[in-house]
Homo-oligomer: 374 residues x 2
Amino acid sequence: MSRLLTTTPRADGFRMPAEWELHAGCWMLWPERSDNWRGGAKPAQHAFAAVAAAIAQGEPVTVCASPAQYIIAREMLDPTVRVVEMTSNDSWIRDCGPTFVVNAAGEVRGVDWKFNAWGGLVGGLYFPWDQDDLVGEKVVEMEGDDRYGPDFILEGGSIDVDGQGAVLATKECLLNPNRNPGLRQDEIEQRLRDYLGVETVIWLDQGVYLDETDGHVDNMCRFVAPGEVVLTWTDDQADPQYARSAAALERLSVARDARGRPLRVHKVYQPAPVLITAAEAAGVDKVPGTLPREPGDRMAASYVNFYIGNGVVVVPAFDDPMDAPAQALLAECFPGRKILPVPAREILLGGGNIHCITQQEPLGQRPAAIRRQA
Amino acid sequence: MSRLLTTTPRADGFRMPAEWELHAGCWMLWPERSDNWRGGAKPAQHAFAAVAAAIAQGEPVTVCASPAQYIIAREMLDPTVRVVEMTSNDSWIRDCGPTFVVNAAGEVRGVDWKFNAWGGLVGGLYFPWDQDDLVGEKVVEMEGDDRYGPDFILEGGSIDVDGQGAVLATKECLLNPNRNPGLRQDEIEQRLRDYLGVETVIWLDQGVYLDETDGHVDNMCRFVAPGEVVLTWTDDQADPQYARSAAALERLSVARDARGRPLRVHKVYQPAPVLITAAEAAGVDKVPGTLPREPGDRMAASYVNFYIGNGVVVVPAFDDPMDAPAQALLAECFPGRKILPVPAREILLGGGNIHCITQQEPLGQRPAAIRRQA
């Protein structure tokens, strides 16, 4: 049974593991809304299926599909991928899904944050978001894990942990008044300490230029090991991204993690600006209340939005000359893992990337997951 | 992963266990349709919750609820009961759900029969039944079990096995041309042998009077042990049920099971006729294509429609003088199990009873289920 707990992970001795720690599996949501995904979401579905198949090389993958899409998802996904019915408003389980925490004994629990579609009625990306907000609870309940339900709005993509007491975040997102307007910075830091089991919050000012999430850190800067991060980068000072990345580098160069270590920063050069084509924009239904997709809009393309799975790193590919160097850098950062590039333009067109559409579940002591993998 | 197999359980060494063998858990579907359940299904939901709580005393229970009902089900059900999202057309998982089979090594697989709402376009009870027909696949996929998908219409309530090679069934149902019109009796028997792993089919002619399932055997006659059955009964020769039960008794008295044993028959006296009241009928939405609920209609009330769970037997109660003798008889049949009566009128009003709304999953070697129970 899954109990709703009123304590905190920190008080109970739980912490969010780093993404490179062993997984029980990965959760995804199947895309379908035609007012965000072009062509009735069909191109995006093929891209999601490729991501799922890549991750499934190393760990069990569960894709949650709506009742209307269940058979279609089952048909399009690799047979090794599990499909379960789950309704959502869109397909960003990194942000609306649970954050799993573990303790020293390998017990696993879920943190079921509140979700308001990246800003609620003040800059949120669609309405309503009621089904998204249930995804965390439904996943944790399906797994039979106990659950924390803090009265705190947080998206999983707005934080990144090293599993050793540090978390990366941007002020652009977490201090945005459209998230938790009643809380001061120090109160928000305390929530992160309490629910992620961390000590040190490393604040960057901003995320990637034009990122519609209000600057999620998982598109900007990620831990790749304790004391080591990757940062999306450009040398072009005329690019609005330059000032953002430069400011982050400056901040990171003086930061210390929870164990007092300085951070080694790897620059990952971004691809050339990726713009929405007229044909792509024309494939999206225009609906009041949903963020429109206009021809010529620049998208927040970044290689940093990768997923670290058991034995693999699944990396966005943009058919760009920078694809290869990004993959080479990640291969150095993750020796022993296969680097699996997946064409990601269709995911990016929906407003995020591979990390945004995935949510890892740590292994802990989980016979169910092990059995599924077998 | 869940593979679709093209062999048969029989060929692979699998059989359907008797219901009294150890379970991993029990599956249910949450009632909601207002054209079958009075009062917007609220009274039925309370009754289903009581059944789930009773079964949960002995084994993990999962209740599948639609997206619209998920939060309501979670709120109304005992915290020990797991809730998952699953869409269906109504709530009879005995009939639309999978039949689990096991082999000697404890491996578990699912048989995902075809389902046509008890007769399809010729006497079926509602339209459409597309989501019901997916329930078997969804449950088996969620469990990660391999699956047989025979091209054969069968409801789980139309069969009852002893786990030792025999199955009970009625000709009224299985030979009804609205089920598998292209198959002769001997071909249907072969399907039962192939997919239940049985040797001997014990045919009764008919089920309970006015049973809208076309005489499901699980409301009429059930195994309670190898070589031992209970049969719903009345001594009132003016009751149309009398001839049905008497004919069944005659058939059972000469039957032999797969091991050549004669059957000991326990008569379970039925309650006094249970009629739909005007108030009850008025609470149901009348919709073309769904079987109506008319005031004065007699319902197919029977104590035989019980569920055998780990450590418990959950028995319909009708607030009738026959409740106590039925419970006493089952207590004798199942020494060591708690007899748990649950008021069942609200379930009966929807067209079935406790056995119809439950589906056991055998334990086999299932770490997931054991973990959930802990």
